[in-house]
């Protein structure tokens, strides 16, 4: 059986009296794009530092690509790539010099190194400006170059710490597309931290939600939506009076019902039929124009999780 790319067991890290990561048990299969969601200061960056062996855990353990982070971190760094909180580019140097340096660090032979640098820069649309000092580049271009650097040595696993943070929506969408394309093309496992929920929903096969250092939910995006939000139905129309909404709430399988402007939002348990509920509304005097079935968005799931005590 192939070992998971990442497996943590009650992983904990304290900084003085502050517990940054609190007993996180997690498993990320190989080949998956895994999103680690959480608000600022939730422990996402500390988690990456622990997984790279840059920090030792206070308690618990972690294995990355089969290596213990405490005793074998050199082997982990040998097989992984990282785009951390900052791009980490040498801005006085050109794009070519930056990638050449890291290619040499990873001991890629000269001709292969040149070919790989050209391949990545071309694919990311940076080849024409390869000789310029990076300091002259836009933030989006720098971020792309940092992604190229993380993938240069064809690692089995890459860590991306908020890769689209600070980018405008167009640049962020372009980078997301590049990331998805590169991950698919290169076949790497991606561990991605973000607080951009749309990004996570578009890119990730699996998601973990962290709050105050604790992992509070984990699963595929669809699973999380279903588990937390249930199925959601929007009924567009008029005449959703307080009494009628109360009748609806009393029905079996109805988790909640709320009027928002000209629509009634009903959250249902799995397996509950929608048609009988619409019938109750119509018989109660409501004018129903349209009924839309939908799951709760990941954003709603996330906000619910953040509000839970």
């Amino acid at each position: 059986m192939t070992e998971s790319a990442i497996r943590t067991e009650l992983l904990t890290r304290d900084f003085g009296s502050v517990r940054a990561v609190d007993a996180v048990t997690l498993e990320v299969p190989r080949g998956e794009i895994f999103g680690f969601l959480g608000p600022n200061g939730a422990g996402k960056t500390t988690m990456i530092r622990l997984l790279l062996g840059l920090l030792d855990p206070t308690e618990g353990s972690a294995r990355v690509l089969g290596h213990d982070t405490r005793t074998d971190s050199d082997a982990i760094r040998e097989q992984t790539g990282a785009l951390l909180e900052h791009t980490g580019l040498y801005e006085r140097l050109s794009a070519i010099d930056n990638l050449d340096y890291f290619g040499r660090i990873w001991r890629i032979p000269g001709p292969d190194r040149k070919a790989r640098v050209q391949e990545l820069l071309t694919r990311l649309g940076l080849w024409d400006r390869r000789g310029e000092q990076v300091v002259k580049w836009s933030r989006g271009m720098k971020q792309k170059l940092a992604v190229a650097r993380a993938l240069l040595h064809r690692p089995s696993l890459i860590f991306l710490d908020e890769p689209t943070a600070g980018l405008d929506p167009v640049a962020a969408a372009a980078l997301r597309d590049d990331l998805a394309g590169l991950a698919e093309h290169e076949g790497v496992t991606v561990f991605l931290t973000t607080h951009n929920l749309a990004e996570a929903e578009k890119l990730c096969d699996g998601i973990g939600v962290i709050r105050g250092g604790r992992l509070i939910a984990v699963g595929a995006p669809r699973e999380l939506r279903e588990r937390r939000g249930g199925r959601q139905v929007e009924v567009v129309g008029r005449g959703f009076g307080v009494d009628l909404v109360a009748v609806l709430r009393a029905q079996a399988g109805v988790q909640g019902a709320e009027v928002k402007k000209d629509r009634l939002v009903v959250v249902l348990s799995d397996g509950v039929e929608v048609a009988p509920l619409v019938g109750i509304l119509v018989r109660g005097g409501a004018e129903v124009e349209e009924v839309r079935k939908d799951s709760a968005s990941l954003e709603e799931v996330f906000l619910t999780l953040m509000e839970e005590k």
């Binding site: 840059l54 971190s73 990873w106």
Partner: protein, 244 residues
């Protein structure tokens, strides 16, 4: 390990040359060689080659040269947010540390050697017709070894300071003070000694001769260098740097 050290050295050199623009970097090197290799030897004449005092003078040059760049080694990486990415690479602690130190030593020592050679040519050009002047073997070897140990002293001490400093400016300030202390404490320390002690030291120095004095000085410097290199290696911890 050697390959990794050379990789780090190569990048450090590129950054040193690109500091404030590549043209400015080359201009600064030319200014140094112009002053130490042409202007001063021309002014001093044959004494620039024949005097044993040359050894002491060339011992200081690499210290000053290395001090100007070594502050940037770790504090600069921290300030420009490149340190953590470097630490997340496959490079070992030793390769990163020794690569940075070696780049600074090569810079300081290399320029010193260039100054020595160009200075020797300048003196002989200025003294043409008076016969070929050569450094004595003691002076030549003494200057080479002392300047190397001087460069290593500034490099290892500078790395220690740079590892602790949050900014390049802070590292530069600390290094400036340390350089002044190293320069002035021995001078004022000897002046402050009682006369009979000074007398005994002077007698010992005269009896010992240039060679023994130089060897003693080199042995002390080598011991201090070794101590600083070990201290820097012990101080270099990835987790400490990431937290710091």
């Amino acid at each position: 390990m050697i390959g990794d050290v050379l990789t780090v050295m190569r990048k450090e050199w590129k950054e040193i040359m690109a500091m404030g623009g590549a043209q400015r970097g080359r201009f600064q090197l030319l200014v140094f060689v112009g002053i130490m290799g042409v202007f001063l030897p021309w002014q001093f004449g044959p004494k620039w080659v024949t005097s044993p005092a040359v050894i002491g003078a060339w011992g200081w040059v690499p210290v000053v040269l290395v001090s100007t760049i070594i502050a940037d080694s770790f504090a600069g990486e921290r300030e420009r947010h490149t340190l953590e990415t470097l630490l997340a690479s496959r490079l070992t602690d030793s390769a990163i540390l020794f690569g940075k130190m070696a780049a600074a030593v090569a810079y300081g020592w290399g320029l010193t050697l260039a100054g020595l050679i160009v200075g020797w040519i300048t003196v002989n050009v200025a003294n043409r017709g008076g016969g070929l002047l050569l450094y004595s073997p003691t002076t030549a070897i003494g200057a080479l070894v002392l300047s190397f140990f001087g460069a290593l002293l500034a490099s290892a001490g500078g790395v220690l300071v740079s590892l602790r400093a949050q900014t390049v400016r802070q590292a530069q300030q600390t290094l400036s003070i340390a350089t002044m202390v190293i320069l002035f404490v021995p001078v004022f320390g000897v002046q402050g000694l009682p006369d009979d002690v000074k007398q005994r030291l002077a007698t010992w120095a005269i009896r010992a001769g240039t060679l023994k004095l130089m060897l003693t000085g080199l042995a002390v410097l080598a011991a201090v260098d070794l101590l600083l290199v070990f201290a820097a290696r012990a101080r270099f911890r990835r987790s400490r740097l990431v937290e710091g």
